[in-house]
Symmetry: C2
Subunit: 256 residues, 2 copies
């Protein structure tokens, strides 16, 4: 397909073409493509920018990851396809951050391909290709984890997560940081720290803040986070974007 | 994958599994799966129900199709996968409605598979498998049409359309009825009659109204339609759903 940079939706068309390619390579499953479309719609409704409240959430997330004893970043096919480089940058910015492949639709080959993709992007060590433990109460392959990774983590960063697993982690007493563009999703509601922002923007900002905290020398803390308020602010933001769009949105005149 | 009917999103999970299957059969392209996800998000924001203003639009659409000299329903991969039966029912309810396959990502094999799917669902005659005409100013395969179908139509029903083609049809002086869950999309803004509703609900309601009008014996007219007002009502509906969701949406308590 030829993509013109002058197309009004050029950027999202490029991302979509990349995802279709990742799908052909066996990294993304069909359900992952549908999930991406849902995210796209919400990002569109959020004005395709990081809101002030999302930025605050990303900064607290950076502190939590730095303050954690065993922080883990969980990676699925969509995350690897959309943000392998950002994952690598975050792993560099947060010493001790484990990166673990965790899939709803798992096959050994797919897990290996995703790990390869992450390594090529610069992630040094990737867990989860051969699971060594199991989380209870989870019917999907999401339950299969690494004993040194998600199983033992005190803080889990789970981008593009499903609600069942977010809930299972929380039930185990693990702190869940979610990145999910839908502020009403079960994942966002269950998370201790819901980040309502697009994946690459969120990971980049978390990494930037982690570098800032480390340079400053101040001690990171697991400080409290107002999850409900943050989600309510995201909903208000969508309301504002819709009102502005409604005011602007007039029907173009029929061309002669 | 096992799907439990008790899952909070059971219905959309079933639809997604069906689309993934249609993708494996070569009916839906990866880009179509992403587009479905976008639609899902908007349907969710519209409360997954037909709003009163969408219902009014569907009733006017039925009249337009009955009043047209050459009405055409354009079908792409997503439409065939999601609503082949509803397409067949509408073709029965509107005598003279041509059904034409029209694809952004066209291959002869894919066009044939989609036509087969429609015939299996009960559509008697399917145009567009071997295009016989071309619409100007359209860079994609969408330009390839049937001389007796979209090319000559006075009223085109285009579900799940792209903005470029909706605009090209309108520029040619054809009346465009769109079915698109995003009231802000270019397709919705360009359409003479934008229906902001989920595909199967919309097609079912249009067919029901067409049968009603024909039974009543009254003469259908191409009566005027307030497109901008309808889209504005859809935006207000989303606003209402969001406010209600925000009020309801509290964080569940951590389980013991």
């Amino acid at each position: 397909m030829r993509l013109s940079p002058r197309h009004p939706r050029y950027r999202s068309l490029v991302v979509r073409a990349g995802l279709a390619e990742a799908h052909r390579q066996g990294i993304i499953v069909p359900e992952g493509l549908i999930a991406h479309g849902r995210g796209e719609a919400f990002d569109y409704l959020l004005g395709e920018r990081t809101s002030p409240s999302a930025r605050r959430a990303e900064r607290v997330a950076a502190e939590w990851l730095l303050a954690a004893r065993r922080p883990v970043l969980s990676v699925n096919g969509n995350v690897a396809a959309l943000a392998a480089r950002e994952v690598a940058a975050l792993a560099r910015a947060v010493p001790g951050l484990a990166v673990e492949v965790n899939l709803f639709h798992r096959t050994p080959a797919r897990a290996r391909r995703i790990a390869d993709q992450l390594r090529r992007a610069g992630v040094r060590s990737v867990l989860g290709v051969r699971p060594t433990a199991k989380i209870g109460r989870l019917p999907s392959d999401r339950a299969l984890v690494d004993r040194r990774g998600i199983y033992a983590a005190d803080v889990c960063l789970v981008p593009l997560e499903d609600g069942d697993r977010a809930e299972a982690l929380r039930t185990r007493g693990q702190r869940v940081i979610a990145i999910d563009l839908n502020p009403l999703s079960r994942t966002s509601r269950v998370a201790d720290l819901p980040i309502v922002d697009e994946l690459t923007r969120a990971l980049t900002e978390i990494a930037r803040e982690a570098r800032r905290v480390r340079r400053s020398g101040r001690r990171p803390r697991l400080r409290p986070f107002p999850a409900d308020r943050t989600r309510a602010e995201a909903l208000r933001e969508i309301g504002r974007v819709l009102s502005r769009a409604a005011a602007r949105s007039r029907r173009p005149r029929r061309r002669a």
